[in-house]
């Protein structure tokens, strides 16, 4: 196994554990959920990690709630008939959820701006306002000019595939690009390649729990 493959595997496992623990930022959480929908092996690992969460929950030393907690909850459920939410989904039905809910209509040119010849991008906004991530669409056989990233980047292939110096990636695969590494991805010849990329600068969970996700920094 080469270094890149083993790095990708390690990062993926660390991401899955953090997802199970509820520690990922929103863009990464959506990236992982989409990956789980596309990759049965990871879905199986996630099932195991959720079971592990249940086991660890049971092993927590109990901490008493306030004395009236049960009464409060009981009275809340007595008058409780809040309708459960229905989920609505977007039209990009051939793309996996949940990321498809964040992708504008692929034929709507206004939502996509050029990022070079044969490359279009859309910046995804999340409810955690300071988070950003990008969808890239790369035409068949098109090479993205050689570049490096100031921060590291995690990329999920949504459709099609691409190759770069580190390997070949198909639908559902996650590619890890470390800060400073130079690469030149080339889309597969047989179709448009659509990827979802999250940058390290945006990989932070906001709020009072703030857990900085510094997985990739050596």
């Amino acid at each position: 196994m080469n270094d890149q493959v083993s790095l990708n595997n390690q990062v993926l496992d660390a991401l899955l554990v953090d997802y199970a623990a509820g520690a990922l930022s929103q863009p990464l959480e959506i990236l992982i959920e989409t990956h789980l929908a596309m990759n049965p092996e990871s879905a199986k690992t996630m099932q195991m990690l959720m079971q592990l969460g249940g086991i660890l929950l049971e092993e927590c030393e109990p901490v008493s709630l306030s004395e009236d907690a049960l009464d409060k909850v009981m009275s809340a459920i007595a008058e409780d008939e809040e309708p459960l939410q229905k989920v609505t989904h977007s039209e990009n039905s051939f793309l996996p959820r949940p990321i498809s809910d964040y992708i504008p209509d692929l034929s709507c040119t206004k939502s996509w701006r050029s990022a070079g010849i044969g490359i279009a991008r859309h910046d995804v906004k999340f409810s955690q306002s300071d988070m950003r991530a990008t969808i890239y669409r790369i035409q068949p056989s098109r090479a993205v000019p050689s570049h490096s990233h100031t921060g590291s980047e995690i990329t999920l292939v949504l459709a099609g595939g691409f190759s770069d110096e580190s390997g070949t990636f198909g639908p559902g695969d996650i590619a890890v690009q470390e800060a400073g590494e130079v690469h030149k991805p080339v889309a597969d010849a047989d179709g448009e390649c659509i990827v979802f990329a999250v940058n390290e600068g945006d990989i932070r969970l906001a709020g009072p729990f703030g857990r900085v996700f510094s997985l990739l920094v050596k």
């Binding site: 660390a14 969460g53 109990p62 306030s66 459960l84 996996p96 009072p208």
Partner: protein, 226 residues
Amino acid sequence: MIISELKVDVVSESNHFQLVFKPQETVDQTMGTSLMNDNSKKLSTWDELLVRVGRDRDKSAFAELFDYFAPRVKSFLLRFGTDMSLAEEIAQEAMIMVWRRAETYDPRQSAASTWIFTIARNKRIDRLRRENRPLPDMTDPAVMPESIETGEIQVARMQQEKKIRHALKNLPEEQAKMIFSAYYEEKSHREIAEESGVALGTVKSRIRLALNRMRAQIDKDEGITP
């Protein structure tokens, strides 16, 4: 831009990870028998109580679940760096959600502890982001494997939990530590690395080694004697 024909294999239909149990075919037969013999096919008390809450809207069953799980959910949140009053609030909200969603609980798919863990996890993230996330629909018949008998799913599910416990108990200390830190503490992998005096790359490789051990344990055919 024209999209050429693309085929994407969509497994999950919900917005969030689903607790769908898909036992491996190789495991079912032998294990089913051995488990039925030792009578451990029985549901745990918590699973039974949660079924009663869902099916009968049984408030005394709910109170029992509350007494056991609410203090553990609160404890779990505290470990994760949530402050006392917020942990109390989220624990209560999580238990209200347990009541609301209990009808969708399926003991064939998950243990009560797994199910409640997932709810508490989601509740915590929701509070963090101030949004209301729809919970996964665990009753969707589309996600139920058809060919496998209900009893076998349940047996395999419980057997899997036993294997995870077994694997967890037998992890080398340095690997177990990484797993506990990830679930129990408000720490990044980098902070874990700094505190334990190992390189960040080592933290990642230990997490992977730990998961590999657990995955290998689950894939083993033979059961674990309780």
